[in-house]
């Protein structure tokens, strides 16, 4: 005998609208939370990993986790820039940017709360080495001047960081001459200026890091080996992408652990909800199940029908949850990165992979919640079931 038609399951759902809606609603919230966690993780990944390019390398002081704690003196910086693996730019100069990175406290526009913002002094090639960063408004700072450019999320969030406004730090006034669009990467949360202006302003005698473009990405290992073996310096080289992945490892881990723990706890609640609904459906339709069996439908078909019903609820929940979660894409989260102590803005990002993952998760909840009740329906004795009606 064939399977029970799908319309049977569908009609059952619409017959108990209230219960179906409540069950699907609970599950949709769980799906929402699960999707939000995955989207946040994807957004953070984009912010940090896309910050780095594969053929760029960052040189920092050995043992310092971040550029902020690092110090690379001028001699070491000059040696780094003159490595044979470093690509040459127009005019035969090495594509290297000697940078200084400091934290300053800025105040938010709405509440006036202080937050740490990263200020990066870059060399002449600093912007060229980061092609993902574009100028959204205004123009680049002129080298040798007191101009700076601010990342998009900084310009929006902090007082004095908008186009044409003035910031005061390091004992000087700085004019924001442009706003950067870094496409959601970490540079959206930075302020850039001329390293040669920022070093004296912050009374720093040494650079924080050196960023170089490699002529061949494979040349990295040789350069790393040579620089780290050099007894004159205590520096280490990291691929830019690796460096930024390490930077956000703590935050990513935190979001993942917290988010997944919550999802597991919540899904237990939702599965219980689905189970209650399906048990009730089975109990109240005992006579119906008996009739179906008497008509010749097999146990497996009955079980299938109830499972399909549960899966349908889950699917509705999955879709509703996803629609809710997709609304988060317009939201930006900005928080302090534990590793750099600096403000980092990132957004929720919905990818096709997440859609699939979330729908599968919803269906899995429906399956787990529906399995036991469906099995009970399938095991019912025909005669007893018919008599109970």
């Amino acid at each position: 005998m064939r399977a029970i038609p799908l319309s049977y399951s569908l009609r059952n759902l619409s017959a108990r609208r209230m219960t179906t809606a409540l069950t699907a609603g609970g599950m949709a919230l769980v799906v929402f939370v699960f999707a939000a966690v995955l989207m946040l993780d994807a957004g953070l990944h984009q912010a940090m990993v896309d910050t780095g390019a594969d053929d760029n390398a960052v040189i920092i002081r050995r043992g310092s986790e971040t550029e902020m704690q690092s110090g690379v003196d001028r001699a070491a910086a000059a040696v780094v820039a003159s490595q044979p693996e470093v690509a040459l730019g127009p005019g035969g100069l090495p594509l290297a940017s000697k940078e200084t990175v400091v934290l300053i406290a800025l105040f938010t526009r709405d509440e006036g709360k202080p937050s740490n913002v990263m200020v990066r002094g870059i060399g002449p090639y600093g912007a060229e080495l980061r092609p993902q960063v574009r100028l959204a408004k205004g123009r680049m700072f002129r080298s040798g001047s007191n101009e700076v450019v601010a990342g998009a999320s900084i310009a929006k969030k902090f007082r004095g960081a908008g186009l044409g406004e003035t910031l005061r730090f390091g004992g000087r006034e700085w004019v924001v001459s442009g706003v950067l669009d870094a496409g959601g990467s970490g540079f959206d949360s930075e302020i850039w200026g001329d390293a040669d202006q920022l070093l004296p302003a912050f009374r720093r005698p040494v650079y924080s890091s050196v960023l170089v473009r490699l002529a061949q990405p494979e040349g990295f290992a040789a350069m790393k080996e040579r620089l780290e073996r050099d007894p004159r310096f205590t520096i280490e080289a990291k691929r830019e992408r690796q460096y930024y992945t390490d930077q956000s490892a703590g935050l990513a881990k935190f979001i993942n652990i917290l988010g997944l723990t919550l999802t597991v706890i919540f899904s237990i609640g939702a599965v219980i909800g689905a189970m209650i609904t399906m048990y009730a459906a089975v109990a109240s339709r005992t006579g119906e199940i008996g009739t179906l069996r008497a008509l010749g439908f097999r146990r497996r078909a009955v079980m299938g029908a109830f499972l399909v019903e549960s899966l349908l609820i889950a699917l509705v929940a999955g879709v509703v949850g996803l629609v809710l979660a997709s609304g988060l894409q317009w939201m930006t989260v900005s928080t302090m990165n534990f590793q750099s102590f600096a403000e980092l803005a990132f957004s929720f990002r919905l990818t096709p992979g997440i859609v699939v993952e979330v729908l599968l998760f919803a269906l899995a909840m429906g399956f787990v919640g529906g399995f036991l009740p469906a099995a009970r329906a399938a095991r019912m004795d025909i005669v007893a079931a018919l008599r109970s009606a």
Partner: protein, 387 residues
């Protein structure tokens, strides 16, 4: 009398569908437990700020915390009227074995501990610490986590101050209150400064923050302004604020996470409310004929509504009670699992009250519609209804 009857029948009703009631109670337990844990996480976030004293003033470089101030500021700050003591502290930020073993380390001057009376240190141990320039003082919880004992040598790998630094544990401090942070690591500021002088001379005599105690808390604002006024237009301008404001600044920077956790803790209540309301709606629907019979026998509609309400409350409160009872052991397990990430992690009394309130609310709201329907359904229609 009527109330007693309602309760008795409600209890019986709750046990009629053992499986369903059991599942609902289980859902309640999970939700209330999760809610309690999340609230405790939020509380742990604010723990440092809540423990901060109103009489302590923190002076830091106004650019940001990563910039130090010259040591000679201490004399000038001391000269400000209304201060008891001015001590030094530098954030050390070194790594113990692996980056994931995070705990706060400070190089502090010896008078620092006079300003922090909540750290209880044995006098003999304190004397040993003073005598040993490489000595360090660790919190009880930190000592337990990593097995530090008096006399142990502890080596940290510096990130801000590169190189290996070896300290000898000379004292272990206890918190005066349960909520005192027992995960900190202190050592001599002089030792840091001397070593820095040898290794990188130009970074010597630099202070991270000045911590001072103010005689009169009401005088705080004036003292802070006066300190900052001394250094206006200097190479390192300062910003002085109460310890509480200083700690809240950190919380504000991670505000988005705190808000998310708080939001999510209420989402879980919504989820369980949907589950619970579902249970009650189904139960009431199945008993439509029964409720109609009760009414036909002369019981008032409010009696019938009371039955539904009492059953819902019974299930919600049983689940809530188990959830609250489980919160304590689970929180303890969680605290052990995350180690020193949260210095203070304990279930606050008001968290339990909130859990109870949530359970009550869920029980009441879940019964709202079904109870109203049960009370209103006309007797004839109810008796005729087929489930």
């Amino acid at each position: 009398m009527i109330l007693g009857a309602v309760l008795r029948h409600a209890l019986r009703n709750a046990t009629r569908h053992r499986l369903r009631s059991g599942l609902t109670v289980l859902g309640m337990v999970v939700a209330i437990l999760a809610y309690g844990l999340l609230q405790t996480v939020v509380g742990a976030w604010y723990a440092n700020a809540n423990n901060a004293s109103d009489t302590r003033l923190i002076t830091r470089n106004s650019i940001s915390l990563v910039f130090p101030m010259p040591l000679n500021y201490r004399q000038k700050i001391r000269a400000v009227e209304g201060l008891n003591q001015v001590s030094l502290a530098n954030w050390f930020g070194a790594i113990y074995k692996e980056p994931k073993n995070f705990f706060a380390q400070f190089a502090v001057s010896d008078d620092y501990f006079a300003i922090y009376p909540e750290f209880i240190i044995d006098e003999d141990q304190m004397r040993d610490y003073r005598r040993d320039r490489r000595g360090c003082i660790v919190g009880r919880k930190l000592a337990n986590t990593y097995g530090f004992k008096i006399g142990d040598a502890v080596t940290l790998k510096g990130t801000i101050f590169p190189g290996d630094w070896t300290f000898v544990v000379r004292a272990i401090y206890d918190g005066r209150k349960e909520s005192t942070d027992e995960t900190q690591f202190f050592f001599h500021w002089d030792f840091l400064n001397e070593t820095v002088k040898q290794r990188y001379a130009r970074r010597a005599d630099q202070v991270g923050v000045f911590v001072s105690s103010v005689r009169d808390p009401d005088d705080m604002a004036r003292v802070a302004l006066e300190i900052d006024g001394q250094f206006r237009n200097s190479a390192a301008e300062t910003l002085s604020e109460t310890e509480k404001a200083f700690q809240l600044g950190f919380v504000a920077m991670t505000g988005a996470i705190v808000t998310a956790v708080e939001l999510v803790s209420y989402v879980v209540i919504f989820i369980i409310m949907a589950v619970m309301a579902n249970t009650m709606a189904m139960t009431a629907r199945e008993r439509t004929a029964e409720y109609a019979t009760l009414k036909a026998l002369g019981f008032s509609p409010s009696f019938v509504a009371g039955l539904v309400l009492a059953e819902s409350l019974t299930i919600a409160l049983i689940g809530g009670a188990i959830g609250i009872a489980l919160t304590y052991p689970v929180a303890q397990g969680f605290a052990q699992a995350v180690g020193t990430l949260f210095p203070v992690f304990r279930v606050a009394p008001h968290t339990v009250l909130l859990q109870l309130a949530c359970a009550l609310l869920v029980g009441l709201l879940a019964a709202w519609l079904p109870a109203r329907r049960a009370a209103r359904v006309p007797i004839v229609e109810g008796l005729r209804s087929v489930v």
